[in-house]
């Protein structure tokens, strides 16, 4: 079940909905500074991700999620922990675009 979870897909699809003109290949670009999303766009991005994945992004976590890769790691971590795995078991694999 967790192996079927592909956060990358959810993020790119949410991003292309919120900001259709933004390049979704730039995994390490800062969503705000580099891709030009403002706070309203980021809020909508978080909402779209919550809707599609069922994972709510907490207010206190949000400031540290500045790139697509950070978002992806966060979602993987949350998904794993909600699937009953402990945080320490989490694989550090990042950029798993095509899992």
């Amino acid at each position: 079940m967790s192996e079927a979870f592909t956060p990358h897909r959810y993020i790119t699809s949410a991003l292309s909905m919120v900001a259709p003109d933004v390049d979704t290949d730039r995994m390490d670009a800062d969503l705000h500074d580099d891709l030009g999303l403002d706070s309203m766009d980021l809020l909508n991005l978080a909402a779209a991700i919550s809707l599609s994945t069922g994972i709510e992004i907490a207010e206190r976590d949000f400031p540290s999620l500045r790139t697509m890769r950070q978002l992806e790691d966060y979602l993987s971590r949350r998904h794993d922990s909600e699937s009953g795995r402990s945080e320490s078991d989490r694989s550090e694999s990042t950029g798993s675009k095509d899992t």
Binding site: M17, V18, A19, P20, D21, V22, H32, G36, D38, S39, M40, D41, L42, L43, N44, A46, A47, S50, E56, I57, A58, E59, R60, F62
Partner: protein
């Protein structure tokens, strides 16, 4: 010139005309009809998508009834006021029950539709519509209860809207200016027009009967001069578009036109101050804590609400400069400048923003900003602004000195909320500070009013009132 009002009509059809979707719009193109002849429509239904220079907009209808005929085809660019479709209204009886339209109009319908226009009398869609304008009918005595504002009463009389049948959208069911304007049949809105003093003077001098002047919207002096052949400029002819114009370029041109006009015509002055928003931001943070990100309220909502409340208190900045005089608005309808990532701006409107709680302001803001950027706005959402706010949002830019959107008389520019050294009780602290700049039209507003406005804004942002 035929008097179209005398043509016999089995049923009173209500014309649905190309609305004016901004002070700078003089024509629009139907991109798509969402209705077909015979379809039922209800007040507020989106019936068409219209392309303006700035964007595509969903256009609502403001009558309940049945679509009788679609007159203008998609792709045809027509001036504001052109009849696009005819609608057979459902008549509301005095008991409030809807009935199908009878062969003879009942009094309320007659009041709503002073012009019975048989479709045959309409100009062909592809030709410049300059329909004959009959002499205005004597205004029937209308029962207008519960309408306390003299400005609105006057407007209702002018547009021959019987407000006793209106469902007010304002607080407590109060009838607003928008309600009256929406209830007015589109053609009569065009027919019973505003006439500027200069136009009246020129008409008198040149012996022009203003009732025969075909014009969309306000009759200005230039319109009268055109009518007498003194100015060689007719209304723009309708153009059949072969392809969709580049909306980006068209938007740029529309912004250019509007800003040049504003900068050339409006004697701007500016007043500015820095406001410590530490308490307001702390309140907001407490409010957001524990919430999920999707439910958070952004600082922009706090700023917009405070700016709207201040405009409600200092009414001298809230309204329009029209016909050489300031016309105060009865509600505070705040235009929010939304920057599009692809370039350009839109200014959707939060209606009655001063009366809304913070969550509602945030909901409206989010909805409008999101749809301005990646969806589509409704016509009613870009109309009727009484005051505008531009927010720089995040980032490090401290000050913006904006240009007024005519016919409004003021615009507030808010810089980014930035931590600054601030004197608190005799010592210096780092506090989040916003730089507020009010641009005002010196024809309508004096520095004293501008200062009062910023003081009120300071009060709403500094007092921890959220």
């Amino acid at each position: 010139m035929p008097d179209v009002r005398e043509a016999p009509a089995a049923t009173e059809l209500v014309p649905f005309a190309m609305p004016s979707l901004g002070a700078d719009m003089d024509a629009g193109t139907i991109v798509e009809w969402r209705i077909t002849p015979g379809a039922d429509v209800h007040r507020g239904d989106v019936v068409a998508v219209v392309q303006t220079d700035k964007s595509d907009l969903d256009i609502e209808v403001f009558v309940d009834g049945t679509v009788h005929e679609l007159i203008v085809q998609p792709g045809v660019k027509v001036p504001v006021g052109t009849v696009l479709a005819m609608i057979e209204p459902r008549v509301v009886t005095k008991l409030g029950r809807a009935e199908s339209a009878p062969s003879l109009p009942s009094p309320p319908l007659a009041a709503l539709s002073p012009v019975a226009l048989p479709p045959a009398a309409l100009p062909p869609a592809a030709q410049t519509p300059s329909p004959p304008v009959g002499p205005p009918q004597p205004t029937p005595a209308l029962a207008i209860p519960e309408l306390h504002s003299p400005v609105l009463r006057h407007l209702a009389e002018q547009l021959q809207v019987d407000t006793s049948h209106l469902h007010g959208s304002g607080p407590g069911g109060r009838v607003t200016r928008d309600d009256i304007e929406h209830a007015a049949p589109r053609l009569s809105r065009r027919e019973i027009r505003r006439v500027t003093p200069r136009a009246r003077r020129l008409a008198r001098v040149r012996g022009v009967d203003l009732r025969t002047v075909a014009s969309v919207g306000t009759i200005t002096g230039d319109v009268v001069l055109r009518a007498t052949g003194s100015v060689d400029a007719g209304p723009a002819p309708a153009v059949v578009l072969k392809s969709q114009p580049d909306t980006g370029d068209a938007m740029r041109r529309a912004i250019a036109r509007q800003m040049v006009k504003a900068w050339q015509e409006i004697p701007h002055f500016h007043v500015a101050t820095r406001i410590d928003v530490g308490d307001a931001m702390n309140d907001l943070q407490r409010r957001n804590e524990g919430r999920v990100v999707a439910a958070r309220i952004l600082p922009a909502a706090v700023l917009v609400q405070a700016a709207a409340r201040a405009a409600g208190d200092v009414s001298g900045v809230n309204g329009w400069w029209r016909d050489g005089a300031f016309e105060p608005a009865t509600g505070v309808h705040v235009g929010i400048v939304v920057a599009l990532r692809t370039g350009g701006l839109l200014a959707p409107v939060i209606h009655d923003a001063n009366l809304k709680d913070l969550s509602s302001v945030m909901d409206d803001l989010r909805d409008l900003v999101t749809r301005a950027r990646s969806g589509r706005l409704r016509a009613s959402e870009v109309q009727g602004a009484t005051f505008t706010i531009t927010l720089l949002g995040e980032g490090e830019v401290e000050t913006v000195t904006p240009i007024i959107h005519p016919p409004q008389v003021a615009i507030l520019g808010l810089g980014a909320v930035i931590n600054q050294p601030w004197v608190v009780g005799g010592s210096i602290e780092a506090r989040p500070v916003v730089h507020a700049t009010l641009a005002a039209d010196h024809r309508a507003v004096d520095g004293r009013i501008g200062s009062q406005y910023l003081t009120a804004l300071q009060h709403y942002l500094g007092g921890g009132t959220i």
